[in-house]
Symmetry: C2
Subunit: 257 residues, 2 copies
């Protein structure tokens, strides 16, 4: 045990309650409080030497700060001050992820993993009002914020919405903008959010070790004018990259009656 966490005899019950790694974590958190996002932090070895603890303890402190979304770590590169983009989700708002990221001050980018016509579940059939048909266009995408993987989405579109839809979807770009260019006014009409351990295949896409908890969201988007269902789908979001706030109810907070 190092000196800093070993107070004089007789004081133990009063002071030495918190563990070393939490003390180191709190010290470091205080130190980096005003540093800009992306600023490089001391390495595990540096921190260990500086605080007179083992590397594992320094590491535990860094991991604690990672859990607090204060620090981001990259193997081979180092540890950095984290940035967590704040995104607000509301029913009735535009479903554009790109726009939400841009509004929050981030640089969005998208990568289409896959476009295919697939058989869909009865539930998706009902939501998209596919009466008769049993297939739809399925699009899997990776969403980035400032080059960091933020979200994986799987979306289903009705086939007859516009001509050559699958081709257009495969080109990437905002799905919302695409729909708007055909005269639709896409709006979220239903949202469901959940904190769940990320499924294995999604974990790989999000480049997560193990299966930590991520924010899972299912949603339905319809045309504001006609109520035509435009798409439905679900997504898994890295909570360390994006802070998603879900807001429900009148905007005026209790004054709308």
């Amino acid at each position: 045990m190092n000196m800093q966490s070993s107070p004089g005899l007789g004081l133990r019950s009063a002071t030495a309650k918190t563990s070393t790694y939490l003390r180191v974590a709190n010290e470091l958190a205080e130190e980096i409080r005003d540093l800009p996002a992306g600023h490089q932090l001391p390495s595990e070895n540096e921190l260990a030497t500086r605080c007179g603890v083992s590397r594992l303890t320094a590491r535990a402190a860094m991991q604690e700060l990672e859990r607090r979304f204060v620090v981001t770590r990259v193997r081979g590169r180092g540890s950095f001050v984290a940035r967590r983009l704040e995104i607000l989700t509301r029913v009735g708002s535009s479903p554009s992820w790109s726009e939400a990221v841009r509004q929050a001050g981030g640089q969005p980018s998208l990568r289409v993993l896959n476009v295919a016509e697939v058989d869909v579940s009865d539930e998706v059939c009902r939501i998209l009002r596919l009466d008769g048909q049993s297939t739809a266009f399925q699009v899997d995408r990776l969403c980035y914020v400032d080059g960091l993987i933020a979200e994986v989405t799987r979306t289903w579109f009705p086939k007859g919405l516009v001509p050559r839809l699958d081709d257009l979807l495969g080109r990437g770009g905002s799905q919302t903008v695409l729909l708007e260019s055909f005269g639709f006014a896409p709006r979220k009409t239903w949202v469901r959010t959940d904190l769940v351990p990320v499924p294995g295949e999604v974990a790989r896409l999000l480049e997560l070790e193990g299966q930590p908890a991520v924010l899972h969201t299912a949603s339905i988007v319809e045309d504001a004018e006609t109520g035509t269902p435009l798409l439905t789908g679900e997504s898994w979001m890295r909570p360390d990259v994006v802070r998603t706030t879900v807001e429900v109810g009148v905007e005026t907070k209790g004054e709308g009656h």
Copy 2:
């Protein structure tokens, strides 16, 4: 390195990709898949011996399962199959936490930490329509599921709602039931949810080490008939104890137009 993670030469690139602790975690997860909640699991030492790994590796595996909400661990007692109660939050629904827990099959209990008349922020004044007054009753509570700490809440009530309100609130029991007994029909009209690192003081109440991410919720409750604001407040919930699903929009999922 133990035998199980050291495949024959030449096979390394094909197989030995995942780390030992994840392999142990996945094995154990498979093993306990059908065990009932509360069932005791092998200790770290047992698991280490059985899998031929060090205790730290066995421990890392257990912690991974804890992150997946599959395992609960108690110092001095052991590791157990976790139970994560599913609770649905919707605008317009009854705000009773006790009722939600009971519906999900859990045993709710409450502990009032504190009742006091306090100065409140301008925002709370506006929400509760306190025009003129600047104080309200503040109630801090701990909410339990089957004896496990699940949630910390801080709630503000307007003073004039019913006579001797502070006294009644201090006795514990469901706040919703109390309001209903006075003829009110409390309904959530506004909810905002967020995943944030738990503040230090709340962490102590929730008996969490460090400051891991918890579900933070702010809400407003009004009378269904008159729109009278009945309470507002915020809460912090342990995601390992409760799986909170927030649902927004028409129940029929796109058929309500």
